[in-house]
Amino acid sequence: MKLRLFPTLVSLAMLPFLASFMESLGSPSYGARTETRQLRPEGQELVDALPEDTILFLEGPALAPLLQAGSNSDLLRALGANSSVRALLDQADPSLEELIEKGSTILDTPLLPRLGSVLAGGLAIGMSPGETKLNWTLVAHSDDADQLEESLGRVLRFVGEQAGFPRAFNQPHDTVAGADVWYIGEEFGVAQSGTFLVASTSQDHLRHALASVAPVADQVAQANGESIEAALRLTIRADEWLKVDEGSEGIKGARQLEELRASAAKPAVQFLLGPSLAMITRSDEFRIELFVDGEDLRLELQGEGIDAGPFAALLPKHAKSFAEPPPALQMFGQGANLLVYRDIDALFEHRADLFPANDLPEFAKSISNLSPFLGGMDLTEEVFPGLSPWMRLVVDPVEFDPSAHPAQPLPAACLLVQVEDPERLGNSLVAAFQSAVSLINLERAQQMKPPLLLGIELVDGIEMSKAHYLLSDPKGGVDMEYNLAPACALVDSTFVLGTHKHLVERVVRDLASQTSRSVEVMPTAENLRLSGALVVDALVENLHALVMSKVLDEGVSKSEAKGELEVVIGLIELMKTLELQVECTDPQSVRVELRLDVRDDSKDGEMVAR
């Protein structure tokens, strides 16, 4: 089966696999770059041997323990038994097992432990623009110069045999900084300098790297990763990348990077992603680090050197005086819970400074469209300033009435926002909800469609406005729009608005039960907690519709579409929870932390309901 999954989804889905892989190998903890124990003389790291114009670094400071443990891992075997993981691995041709076997044959020793020895002191790979092409340079530090020499000799002999010149690499082709150098083709060179392995697609870079490691070539790497947590680290120098003349030097992606940075200045991006995430696209340097901690897999993305400009006004650092966060809820464990920062007041106030002129009419239009619902209140003067920028969004499954169960059931979502003046603004928002229902009914009446029935219900003494569609013909199937049974309520100073009354009712009860609400500590970061089961259940319940959508939109067969979706579902099943935190305490720096709690069904026997 040929799988065509969304790359990002695959990447995300592979993270649990990597986590378990590392955990299964009994990997030590890995430290961040600034905490890395120096394996070479003070002040020198492997990346220092890479060319100065390197724009992308990939470092593996302590891969050795992972590689040396090989496949002797219960968890790795358990993951291998997961059908989705298996399906992904099966796509490889040759397979992973075949590759390892082939490598072992060439080296005449088990591949993974030998790689562990070669990379005992770490690995650094750099990408840099050349005159006509992209150049790659690799530096690895071994714990055994003899083993490195033997391995390199065997690999070169194999390459020579494959090329039909078995003796081509019997002798080195050159000597640089005291190191033997072999050239494969006209450009690729590989060399050994003591315990260092250096390879590059540029002779200049090869010479530079060899000169850098020569003074410490006799240092033996020690694979002791106990104080090292970062298993992998990717650094991208976006500012340098953008200086590259795209195309002429073999570098792609500069235009896309530029477009990504420009997208931060779009109102929709600011609103959907939030100011911090939107700003990270403007980083001069990105650093991505992968950590393993027990059953947790942690991915950190750090963006540095951000020029936020006027957008800094939208960041939490500049929160206005009324920035009270909505109360935390006790009820949720199945769905998703987000705390986000969206300063709508500042967005509208500074819109002329933030966005291009052709975006501004949309702001005027939205003010014009919303104003009639708010009984004459001025949106920019009276409404937006009275809303706290900290908002909470909760998502949870809905128990639909069997007679009105939509063919495509969706989880319900509920937004909580604090209002400064509950008496006036809070009640105006409730009235706006009721007016909106009336307007929808007017339009549906013109279309001869069943209306939204508006009602008011008391929930623990609190008025909840609710509405739902009248089901006219359930025999013909319940449409997707019946997922919408909106409701709203005002609980003290918290305005609650949701897509389904059952969820709003639960939120209202939760808030009402908080008799002595403690003053919330002012948050410093936006965060999301998402249950893998919520996503899996939503996908499984809508599987037939998703399959058919893929068939019609992508032209694949039904069995192909079903197979691809089942792989995705299987991979998400590996994830118990996902936590995302976006922090921006300094306008020049944004930190995003993604933490995955990987499901280990083999341990607790828990199975996800399908």
């Binding site: 063919a407 495509q408 001869m448 013909g476 199937g477 058919m548 939109d553 992508e554």
Partner: protein, 441 residues
């Protein structure tokens, strides 16, 4: 059962040396009776002959049931684009060729647009009626559509009430669906509208409201009675013009846009003789000398859905159905959204400056990418045969029944100017798509 006819337009066609069962004749049958041949279809048709080829037009693919029912999971989403893509998938190979051809014909005849109905489930239900009854008894088809909720909304059935009749449905039944202009007068329309009062919808179902029905005496086609909607429909169906109206429609769609009166009358006789069964009547038409006369071959401008379907079928390309539906839309035929109750203007009406450009752009996109470079799949689309040059490979695929020498020569010249085989294939295909010849079926 085949009719034995002599000296008539509908006489059964017998191949002769001057009008043989050749690639041209086989292509005519596969294009008009279905949506064009796939690469191997034409050779197989030549081997198997007329009878077996006609049978194959009614053969279902193995996955037919699955292909038909797949859309059910998406109807609740309410996106007409998904319904369009689903029908396109049936037209291009997922359905029975002749059945889909007829459903498309009736969709234009009983034109109903989702722009007004605004309900995907109702549009789907009407499409099912067209598919399941399109080759059956015309009278049954008309009766079902008269009570179809989508049709009732489209033609204001809900507004047709006693004392204030709405004439839309009655008028279109006479003018467009069953009789044609000149075979009724205004009073017939007004009186029939009274008969249809009370026919409306309740949600997505047909509903008859006795309170809104006019029970008084009506006079339709000179006959008096307290006719209700069903009886009014019977009067229409029994009108002598009805059989000829249907026969004319069949000949216009399958043979000639300007049919001769004698042929229409003859086919109308066949229709009545075959108990109004469209499939049986069509069987006579598709075997007739009228159908195979060389004059009518490649003599009709293909509609957008036809040309898109024929192109992907002959190139054997796998393209997302949603893209195909969008391409047809840009060329001027958005399924489930005909521009008016009269349907689409066929023939020359398909072509204007905008739609002609869209035809070229959309079809060329199958052979070149957005930057104008030949697509990597071109080689497989135009199957390689040792003896053939690029221009021959393309023409053999797009015109399996051949082209004239001048046309082929011009294409060869264009290919010769190219620097690579891929470029030549793309260049010739793009030129062919831009030529009027390619758009004639």
């Amino acid at each position: 059962m085949k009719l034995s006819r002599t000296k008539s337009a509908l006489a059964e066609w017998r191949p002769t040396p001057g009008n043989a069962w050749d690639a041209s004749a086989a292509a005519q049958l596969l294009r008009r009776g279905g949506f064009g041949p796939r690469p191997a279809d034409l050779e197989r048709a030549l081997d198997e002959g007329v009878d077996r080829t006609i049978e194959r037009l009614s053969e279902a693919p193995e996955s037919l049931e699955e292909n038909l029912s797949g859309i059910h999971s998406l109807l609740g989403v309410g996106k007409i684009s998904q319904l369009q893509a689903w029908w396109m998938s049936l037209i291009t190979g997922g359905g029975v060729p002749l059945v889909e051809r007829m459903a498309l014909m009736w969709h234009n005849h009983f034109a109903t647009s989702n722009d007004k109905v605004d309900d995907v489930r109702m549009m789907h239900r009407q499409n099912v009626i067209l598919r399941e009854n399109g080759l059956g008894d015309f009278r049954g088809l008309l009766r079902k559509l008269a009570k179809d909720p989508a049709m009732l909304i489209w033609l204001d059935g809900d507004a047709n009430k006693r004392g204030n009749p709405n004439e839309n449905f009655a008028r279109e039944v006479m003018e467009l669906f069953a009789l044609g202009i000149g075979n009724y007068d205004e009073r017939d329309v007004q009186e029939a509208a009274r008969a249809f009062t009370g026919w409306g919808t309740n949600g997505r179902a047909f509903a008859f409201s006795p309170d809104h029905h006019d029970t008084g005496e009506k006079q339709i086609f000179g006959k008096r009675g307290e006719f209700d909607g069903d009886e009014a429909l019977e009067l229409v169906l029994n009108h002598p013009a009805c059989r000829e109206h249907v026969a004319r429609k069949l000949i216009e769609s399958f043979v000639d846009a300007k049919p001769e009166g004698a042929a229409v009358r003859e086919l109308a006789g066949v229709l009545v003789e075959r108990e109004w069964n469209i499939g049986a009547t069509l069987d006579v038409l598709l075997r007739s000398e009228l159908f195979f006369q060389p004059r009518v071959r490649r003599g009709r401008i293909a509609g957008p859905v036809e040309i898109v379907a024929m192109t992907v079928r002959c190139m054997d390309k796998s393209i997302a159905p949603s893209r195909l539906a969008l391409a047809a839309d840009r060329m001027g035929q958005s399924l489930f959204r005909p521009p008016s109750v009269k349907g689409w203007d066929m023939g020359r009406g398909w072509i204007n400056a905008g739609t002609w450009l869209a035809r070229h752009n959309e079809l060329a996109a199958y052979v070149v990418d957005s930057s104008g470079k030949p697509r990597a799949t071109l080689g497989s689309a135009f199957s390689k045969r040792a003896e053939r040059e690029p221009s021959e490979r393309v023409l053999n695929t797009l015109f399996p029944d051949g082209t004239d020498r001048a046309y082929a020569g011009a294409m060869r010249t264009a290919a010769d100017a190219c620097t690579s085989e891929q470029q030549a294939l793309a260049q010739v295909a793009a030129l062919a798509f831009s030529s009027p010849e390619y758009h004639l079926v």
